[in-house]
């Protein structure tokens, strides 16, 4: 959870407190499927997927305090690092692997994506879009690193070491040979933004990108 927003309500049946973008991700997951949520925080999404969709949902989280909270809520979460610990999972162990608002904070995004699509049929990836007009405008007008709700830490202390834009991510998928099954641009609250047909507009007006990938 590098962007500092706590996920609340793990394991609780009420979906009231779940982040809207997590709801959006949950809607992409078929019932009864096997899911791994990387950077699962306190497990709100996996708790939701179990309770509402009967999924076998598991989590991987770096922050031990969040892991403890998730396990204390009865959720199966392993403490570990996306950069180093995905290698332990067997091939095709999951139907979906979720990486929500974490890609920009991992050390080796390419390797993490490769591992995700090794251990799972599909990867669901969301990230804050660095190409949003407001960031562009801030950089252009102030000449300094932009500060927004998603990009809210100074450059020297941000965990978000690999920012990218929606366009960048399309390029990466092309270069790596991933099929983009679905994609959405969403605003900071996780509501869908109406730019689906136009990647360039989405890149300008979408605060986050949400992608469903599979290998070719």
């Amino acid at each position: 959870m590098p962007d500092g927003e706590p996920r609340v309500g793990a394991g609780e049946r009420t979906a009231r407190a779940m982040r809207v973008d997590l709801q959006l991700i949950a809607d992409l997951v078929k019932p009864k499927s096997r899911v791994l949520d990387i950077g699962c925080g306190d497990g709100a999404l996996i708790g939701h997927l179990f309770h509402t969709r009967g999924c076998d949902a598991r989590g991987l989280e770096l922050d031990m305090a969040l892991v403890t909270r998730a396990v204390a809520h009865g959720l199966p979460v392993m403490q570990g690092d996306a950069d180093t610990d995905l290698v332990h999972y067997p091939d095709q162990a999951f139907d979906y692997v979720v990486l929500s608002r974490t890609l920009q904070a991992v050390e080796r995004p390419l390797e993490v994506l490769r591992q995700m699509l090794r251990i799972s049929e599909r990867a669901i990836v969301s990230f804050p879009n660095f190409g949003h007009w407001y960031l562009r405008a801030q950089l252009l007008l102030s000449g300094r690193m932009p500060m927004t709700k998603s990009w809210n830490r100074m450059w020297y202390e941000t965990p978000n070491i690999h920012p990218c834009t929606i366009q960048d991510f399309f390029d990466l998928c092309r270069a790596e040979g991933y099929v983009v099954e679905q994609w959405l641009a969403v605003d900071d609250e996780g509501h869908r933004a109406p730019w689906r047909r136009f990647p360039h507009l989405a890149n300008l007006f979408g605060e986050q990108g949400l992608f469903v990938l599979r290998r070719r």
Partner: protein
Amino acid sequence: MDQLEPFAEIAHQAIVFTEGMALDCGRSLHSLTVAYRTYGRLDADRRNAILICHALTGDQYVAETHPLTGRAGWWSTLVGPGLPIDTDRFFVICANVLGGCMGSTGPRSPHDDKPGEPWGHEFPPVTIRDMVRAQKMLVEHLGIDQLFAVIGGSMGGMQVLEWAATYPEAVFAALPIATAAHHSAQNIAFNEVGRQAIFADPDWCGGEYWRAGAIPARGLAVARMVAHITYLSEAALTRKFGRRLRDATSLTLLGDKFEVESYLQYQGSAFVRRFDANSYLSITRAMDFFDIAAEHGGDLFRAFQGSRTRFCLVSFSSDWLFPTTASREVGNALIRGAANVSFVEIMSDKGHDAFLLDEPDFHRTIAGFLAGCAEHRGLAPRERA
């Protein structure tokens, strides 16, 4: 200390299997006694049973006053009505290990081949798997096909891993706590110091101290003192004792004793009043020989491949006897075997001992994990009056 009598033989609740049991070493016990305690009530469908496995010097008196020492049960903060292992909801079983000295078959039991004599040092070598087989016989005797959970710390955690590897279908959830898939060279080394201390005691009498009506109290106490140091962290020792002196305010070189010295001596002398030296040797050997990967072709993940058991591994940050890296090794092997694993490292400065102490995060983890598993298993929620 040298005048100590062997500790009293008291009656323990036990089941005797007259068919005996075959051991890993190739020998067989003609008869097997398993001493055990239970707490709570077994549901009609027998799905709410939890087996607790005790550590090296623990016993079956997990949640009640100990009949010999008069002290509270060793996990009485964790096991009981309304506690994380809730005896209002679960049927809790704890058995004295094979090779132990609290009523189960062990070196103090009658020798199979020498009428009127105990096994003593001739007790066959036992393994952690032998201990688990004996527990399985008890569990079957109680009419339980599948345990809801098997829980244990330290050597108890080794038994949990062995249960999950040997009887995967009989274990719905497994909680190996502060443990490892094998002893490290350092673990074995500390155990060997303890064993050598026992051998060096003149009252050891070549293992037949019972003939002389003596016990190798000094050696056993030293073994306990060494082991006790490994259970604590430097920070815990410093906080508890620092360099404080016993009955003195300043050091005078002669005669003064540090608090930590008198604490360890107390630990040693209390221990020999409740534990048998030959049992100590048997059980430490079993721990040293335990290597769950070796039992499965040298690859740990094969031990758990395809397991449907839900695992929760717990380690403690300041435990240097069974460090977090040892639990992580087990966790990664489970992940490779596609098992369902939770893994938590609890922040604590109390060393290995933390698993026996009141650590709120640890207790929350146990309670939450069990609640989650109960939901997955469809166990009815606890009835409240």
